[in-house]
């Protein structure tokens, strides 16, 4: 039942951060959209070289934080002043100053939850399998090599033209990634 392998994309290997930086600028200028760079560590400024948009994560976090803070304060007021009012130490039932520590903690907790889960949602991870993993050379992406992958699904993708483009960018290795 094995399907015949299809080309999923083209993978190009680079040796240094400087090389991939220049290569990304060229691929970006060639007008590709479904492509990605893969690096062992975040290369400073590569998002600009790729024309990547800023991450929307801060907005998710702001939402999380506001939810956490509002929830904490209103929950405590409801609990200690309305649902189970009990005079303790002569403090007012709704002791706003005394509720601030927990409000702060829950603001942080909810923000960090939003940040953590938002991050993996935006990355669409966990995704344990990816076509590139089948490529032997790609294993060094987490070590010391830099890669650009242009997907075949890109409207501008053309096996020979794309390969030529990648060759011009100074790739040291170009291979097909199969699906």
């Amino acid at each position: 039942m094995a399907k015949p392998p299809r080309t999923w994309g083209l993978l190009a290997q680079y040796e240094s951060a400087a090389d991939i930086y220049k290569a990304c600028e060229k691929v970006r200028d060639a007008g590709y959209s479904k492509w990605d760079a893969h690096t062992p560590f975040p290369v400073h400024g590569l998002d600009k070289a790729m024309g990547d948009k800023p991450s929307p994560l801060p907005w998710m976090v702001l939402g999380g934080g506001l939810t956490g803070g509002t929830f904490a304060m209103s929950f405590m007021i409801w609990v200690n002043a309305f649902d189970y009012p009990l005079n303790i130490g002569g403090k007012p039932l709704a002791s706003v100053p005394a509720f601030i520590p927990v409000t702060f903690e829950l603001t942080v907790l909810f923000s960090v939850f939003a940040c953590f889960f938002g991050l993996w949602f935006l990355c669409r991870l966990p995704q344990l399998f990816h076509p590139a993993f089948a490529n032997k050379a790609f294993a060094r992406v987490t070590d010391d090599k830099f890669f650009i992958i242009i997907e075949a699904a890109d409207s501008k993708f053309d096996k020979s033209n794309t390969r030529t483009l990648l060759e011009q960018t100074g790739a040291t290795l170009i291979e097909e990634v199969e699906d």
């Binding site: 240094s16 062992p40 189970y84 927990v102 991050l119 993993f133 294993a139 010391d144």
Partner: protein
Amino acid sequence: MATDMTAQSYGDVNLEDPVSGRELLIRGNHDFHYVTEAVCSVAEMKLLDTPKPWVFGWMLAVSVLAFLGSLILYLIWEGVGIWGNNNPVGWGWPIVNFVFWVGIGHAGTLISAILYLFRQKWRTSINRYAEAMTIFAVICALVFPGIHVGRIWLAYWLLPLPNQMDMWVNFRSPLLWDVFAVGTYFTVSLLFWFTGLVPDFATLRDRAQHKVAQVLYGIVAMGWRGSQRHWNHYEKAYQIMACFSAPLVLSVHTVVSFDFAVSQLPGWHTTIFPPYFVAGAIFSGFAMVQTLVIPARAWLGLKHIVTIKHIENMNKIILLTGSLVGYAYTMEFFMAWYSGNEYEGFTFINRMFGPYWWAYWIMMSCNVFSPQFYWFKKLRTNITFSFILSIFVNIGMWFERFVITVTSLANDFLISSWDYFVPTWVDISMFIGSFGLFFTLFLLFVRFFPVIAIAEAKSVMPEADPHYHPPHDDHPAPAAAASA
């Protein structure tokens, strides 16, 4: 293990601070692959090749942990009467141990978050240890209030859960804030640590020789593939988590200090407690990082990644925070007199010359006097001295909590209720036992986890800059130039 011995010993060479430009954080001329190798080699060692000292150390730690476990069972069986806690000292060693461990748990997130926000790039060589230390220290800390509740099977009453009695917890109580503060801190530290680990787990996955290791590392790496589009979100996320962790660290020990300071007890109730506790926590945390890192860098062969520069920087922070703690002691003392309140005044004189004078002077000499040696660069950059001094600081900070807790309680307003606190063998053994728990976890971490943030350490190397030009263009990579 790394074999590059010249680079190794080079890590101990003390270089003068450059006035312009910055010192290399990783000593020697290495490429990215070298960093991967140096860090991964420990985690990738075959199980049967595990060094004997590690096996011995871990077994020792596990047996101490087992001892702690049996003591806890004994405690649950007998009740808290087996401790030395008496009336008036209702908070004895357990709270001292709790605050001690929580304090140690501060350096990790401080190094990861605050040093990150201040662009202190040297943190990359030590942040992973410190974060791991944080998590394990907080686990140790949580044990003590957990077993102090007495009827441990009702510990969930600490949480605001709906119940058939229609009762709620009291949110005006500082002890409840503690539950939220420490709980949040633990959760956030864990998530922060895990986020930092993901790219490094991917490295271990891609290099794994054994199927089992590959699958295990593969699961925790979650399919990370170094995608730039992911890095884009990832860096933002890391930055945001740092921004939240920084005030969170401060808040945790602030809340712990509230446990004491909202009361009216002389010696506990003083407004400087929050920042003073935070400074003390950072102080003890950095001392513990030193205690752990100095042997680890030697045994794991990472002296050129964790260089003398890192140790000196940490010593400077120890000097700073030690002096801040000294500042707080001074303010407390001054105000105890300046307040004109006789109880305040008595408490502080009593700390110095009363029945616990020895604890007070241990605290003073370890916390305030001993870090002053670090005014001298010679001592700051002496590795043996740093190790010894870090142990003194650990001792001193434990005694600080002892002094605060016990002296204030033992001699309070009413002379007829004074009593002297003596710990029992269970108190002492449980404290020792908590080290078993800590080292069991820490040794596992050192053996199977990437002990240095590989991706981050690479990103602070000069050739990580996309505008970097190798010094000689005829050599393809700087590493080649070095070996030539």
